[in-house]
Amino acid sequence: MKDVWTVSELNEDIKNLFYEHYGFLWVEGEVSDLRRPSSGHFYFYLKDENSRIRAVIFRGTNSLSPFAFELEDGMHITCRARLTVYSPRGEYQLIIDRVEPVGIGALKKAYEQLKAKLEAEGFFDAARKKPIPFLPNRIGVVTSPTGAVIRDILNITARRCPTVNIVVAPVRVQGWEAPGEIVEAIENMNKIGVDVIILARGGGSFEDLYPFNTEEVARAIFASSIPIVSAIGHETDYTISDFVADLRAPTPSAAAELVVPSREDLINTLQSLKRRLINLLRKEMDRRLLQTIDLERRLRHPREVIEVYKSRLQSLERQIHRWLLYQIRGFNREVDHLSQRLKTASPSNLTDKYKTQVQLLKKEICAIMKNYLAKSKEQLTLEEQKLGTLNPFSILGRGYSVAVKMPEEWIIRDSKTVSQGDEIRVILHKGRLLARVAKVE
């Protein structure tokens, strides 16, 4: 031992002591005072109820964790670290290289964080899912090479279709190394070119399934150009891998059934199709045969056919002849009748007829008029005579006269209507007298 140490020497020695004494150690505690300066390193304290210790995670280190989560103050973690001395300050601190959230709550949180992130990136889009081939030639199985899962898959695929080849990529499905191995296995399957990949794991706790909830596995599944069927844990477990995979099977056995069709079913289908084909052709042939027989039966010598047609033709000819004659006779009669009617109805006939009628009427009117005139004349003479007798003045000729009171000029019928001295006019047959009444008698 030295008598006097420099500070640097002492810190260096303490650092070595720490390394020798502790090596890698696992520490559990709560995150507090978390800072992440632009350097990208994480600085915080790991603490419990009574004590705390400085801790640092250098940038990039966190990706070594199988858990895609963000460190937060108050988060309860377990970490693998080395205890070291930060010489410039003489402070000891933990350099953490692996972090694991403690407790199901933290795990669930990390799970939800990653799920939301990948969903936003379109990792779960149905449109991105690749179709699963109908009958694969070779299947890649990424799982543990031992245990019930691979056994079930091999048994079921063998039972369903023993011509489908299998390549198993042995991986750890649990623990720190699992995600990296799974990623590498998926990449290798893409290199060797299988038709479909089954990514499988048996049941386990949420923590056990954690490799399948890591971002790196999710990205490897998404990047695979070969369709991937996932079957992780029990039917009720949904891992991130299940969401990213092209098809999720509830169990590894179900995955095997989904990927490999039943050879028996296929052969039955083929046999049934073959039977139907043969029956159809047989039916078709039978139908044609019957058709031929029928045609043969109906087929007669051409001369015979011609004779039949000939006699039929003659009969028809006779019929047509008769019919034509009958029709012509009918037409003739019709024409006669119509021409008769036409003659009667001819317009020249009508003119003549009207002419005669007009002349007839003219004559008639003339006669009537003459007659009427004669009669009128006769009447007139008669009336004239009658008038002659009635004319008051005509009787004057026989010696009568008419006395008229003057100046009133009314005819005097009664002597009492005049008085002595009244002037009266006396109308004679020829000429008039103006007189005075000498005496009323």
Binding site: L135, L154, V164, N165, L280
Partner: protein, 79 residues
């Protein structure tokens, strides 16, 4: 027959059967369809009766990918 053609072959086969069932093919067409159908049945059946499968395991051999037969002892009911 390529493996991905299997499904197409079965579909084509079903199509042929349906066409024949409709019964509007000429005799020549029927015979042609039948011939094609039987050929497809043979091809598909042959595909299903190919040699026994291989079960292999990927291993890393000095950084290269290599195949070995899958160790059957892994399938014993021991875990």
């Amino acid at each position: 027959m390529a493996k991905e053609k299997f499904e197409e072959a079965i579909k084509r086969l079903e199509e042929i059967v349906h066409t024949m069932e409709r019964g509007d093919l000429s005799l020549e067409e029927s015979l042609k369809a039948f011939e094609e159908g039987i050929k497809l049945v043979r091809l598909c059946t042959k595909k299903l009766e190919e040699a026994e499968r291989k079960v292999e395991m990927l291993i890393k051999n000095e950084g290269n990918i290599d195949f070995i037969p899958f160790p059957e002892e892994n399938l014993k009911n021991n875990g």
